[in-house]
């Protein structure tokens, strides 16, 4: 659905130049929910804005649904944007229009006639659960309701792709959850592809299939979540399953085990103590459901040095588990 290839974007020049995007390549498959995470200033907004050409990249190719937008003319670009929905952190609703009027704006732009416009706008408001507010003005709505209007407006023209720039960052955790749920449901229902930008790992955990980590305008990691989880040293995986600081080993061995897919429901720890006769201490665990699969990370403490536990570690690895030594090292 989206293919970004070697995108660069620099703001300013000389000493004050900011390389907002530095050779970024990214692919988002049809029907996927793809999350881009990164700290503030990493270039996330610039990245998502290049997808619908609100920001023109200095170089690189932007292709959406098979159409190259980086070389498109103005009229062509407008037509393409009508097929790409976008929602924003601060909702960007017109205060001069009612909820219905805001949704209708999207249809007016496309040139839908007045009667069909009302019908279609009401239909989509129903989908986001805001029928009762259709004649209210944005100032009378809560943040979550405003974002629902934003979603309705973005989807009114039946796009195949939804771009979301920190759409939940101005919302409280509970509202965030309900908005994410809505995005997830709608995307499944309508077969929508979603590219979302966030600085919150929780958002990625909740709805994304794939993710990329952006740092100083560069993509440091990207891939399907299930795959990232089982990648040794993955920073995204660490952020997804934070286990905190490693305690002093004090002569023991401390390991992190990553479970994913089938390995999650095996009685690994019980088996470890039974087969090798060691007392395993669980220091921490983080389990989540990702793309419908249980996945997670457990931090274990095994008595004695690494050498004493070689057999046990071998055994774990041979079961296909990802084992990382985080404390104890060589004795």
């Amino acid at each position: 659905m989206i293919s970004l290839s070697h995108i660069t974007k620099t703001f300013g020049s000389g000493d004050s130049a900011v390389h907002a995007l530095d050779d970024v390549s990214l692919n988002v498959a049809d029907g996927q929910i793809f999350g881009v995470v990164g700290q503030s200033g990493a270039g996330k907004s610039t990245l998502i804005r290049t997808v619908n050409m609100l920001e023109r990249p200095d170089s690189g190719l932007v292709t959406v649904a098979g159409q190259e937008l980086s070389g498109a003319g103005e009229a062509e670009l407008r037509a393409a944007r009508q097929r790409i929905g976008m929602i924003f952190q601060h909702f960007n609703l017109l205060s001069s229009r009612t909820v219905l009027g805001n949704v209708e704006l999207a249809l007016e732009v496309i040139g839908v006639d007045s009667r069909q416009r009302k019908a279609r706008a009401s239909e989509i408001l129903d989908l986001v659960g805001l029928t009762s507010k259709s004649s209210a003005y944005p100032s009378q709505l809560s943040g979550g309701q405003k974002q629902r209007v934003g979603i309705a407006r973005a989807l009114a023209g039946k796009p195949r792709l939804l771009l979301s720039d920190e759409a939940t960052s101005a919302l409280d955790p509970e509202t965030t959850r309900s908005i994410l749920e809505l995005v997830k449901t709608i995307s499944t229902e309508l077969g929508l592809t979603v590219l979302l930008i966030t600085h919150e790992m929780d958002v990625v955990k909740t709805i994304c299939d794939s993710a990329a980590l952006l740092e100083n305008g560069r993509i440091v990691e990207q891939g399907p979540l299930v795959q990232l989880i089982s990648t040794p040293g993955s920073r995204l995986a660490l952020d997804l399953f934070p286990l905190g600081a490693v305690p002093p080993p004090a002569g023991n061995t401390i390991i992190d085990i990553t479970f994913s897919g089938g390995s999650a429901d095996r009685p690994v720890i019980a088996q470890l103590s039974r087969t090798h006769g060691i007392d395993v201490v669980i220091l921490g665990a983080a389990i989540e459901t990702i793309s419908g699969n249980q996945a997670g990370r457990t931090r274990l403490q095994l008595p004695g040095s690494v050498e004493n536990n070689t057999a046990a570690l071998e055994d774990l690895r041979s079961q296909g588990l990802l084992v990382e030594l985080v404390g104890g090292g060589k004795s």
Partner: protein, 235 residues
């Protein structure tokens, strides 16, 4: 000298005030209409041709946009700095060209509009600049044309501010319309000079002041409440 005890005094006063008010409303009304028709697009152009504006590439060229912006800015500043009485006299040939005469209420409309246009254009500019850039961006993301953005986003969103600006503009047009009256433009200013000043009728003078006060205050009240209703702000 006018004699207030004459039996026809009050009917004459009433007629003089009625026709004076009528002329003032006519001058101000038409001047205002012309001001909005020309000042609004000017304000839009002033903002649009700025760097990063909607029309920063006017007719496909940054240079054209820049030149238009600088020229408009200069003209607006010039219009705002010339004292009205000088402007009024200086443009008499132009006034004759446009309306065919240089005296009377119709002729007065030309300098009134000319002084009000730059004033209102600035008001429009200020109101447009207060519209959140995110709204323009949202409209772009929907695939809107520039014209659609101006019509459906910028102007409606700036309307509450523009209404207030318009009310300030009307007040200054009324103010200047009284000055035009002294140069045979008619209207309430003319009444004040001919009866109140030249013929020492305090009653005429007071009546004119009261009427103008009522018009200005009435407009201000209407504009404030209209602006508040348009802004749909939470109560």
């Amino acid at each position: 000298m006018i004699d207030p005890s004459s039996p026809t005094f009050w009917t004459e006063l009433w007629q003089v005030l009625l026709s004076g008010t009528g002329q003032t409303l006519y001058m101000v009304g038409v001047a205002l209409l012309v001001t909005v028709i020309i000042g609004l697009p000017l304000g839009v152009l002033l903002v649009g041709t700025e760097k990063g504006g909607l029309f920063e590439r006017l007719f496909g060229s940054r240079l054209v946009a820049w030149v238009v912006n600088r020229v408009l800015d200069f003209v607006v500043n010039l219009g705002r700095s010339i004292p009205f009485i000088i402007l009024m006299i200086a443009i008499i040939p132009f006034t004759r060209l446009v309306v065919g005469t240089s005296i009377g209420s119709t002729a007065a409309i030309v300098p009134l509009a000319l002084v009000a246009i730059p004033f209102f254009a600035r008001m429009v500019e200020i109101s447009l600049k207060e519209v959140d850039g995110g709204l323009t961006e949202a409209a772009h993301s929907l695939g809107a044309t520039r014209w659609q953005i101006v019509r459906k986003v910028l102007i409606p969103e700036a309307l509450p501010g523009m209404v207030l600006g318009l009310s300030t503009t009307v007040t200054s047009i009324i103010n200047f319309s009284a000055m035009v009256g002294t140069l045979a433009g008619g209207g309430l200013g003319d009444v004040a000079v001919r009866y109140g000043y030249q013929r020492y009728s305090t009653i005429h003078m007071v009546a004119v002041i009261v009427i103008i006060y009522l018009i200005v205050q009435g407009l201000a009240v209407v504009a404030t409440s209209l602006s508040r209703r348009l802004s749909h702000a939470p109560r």
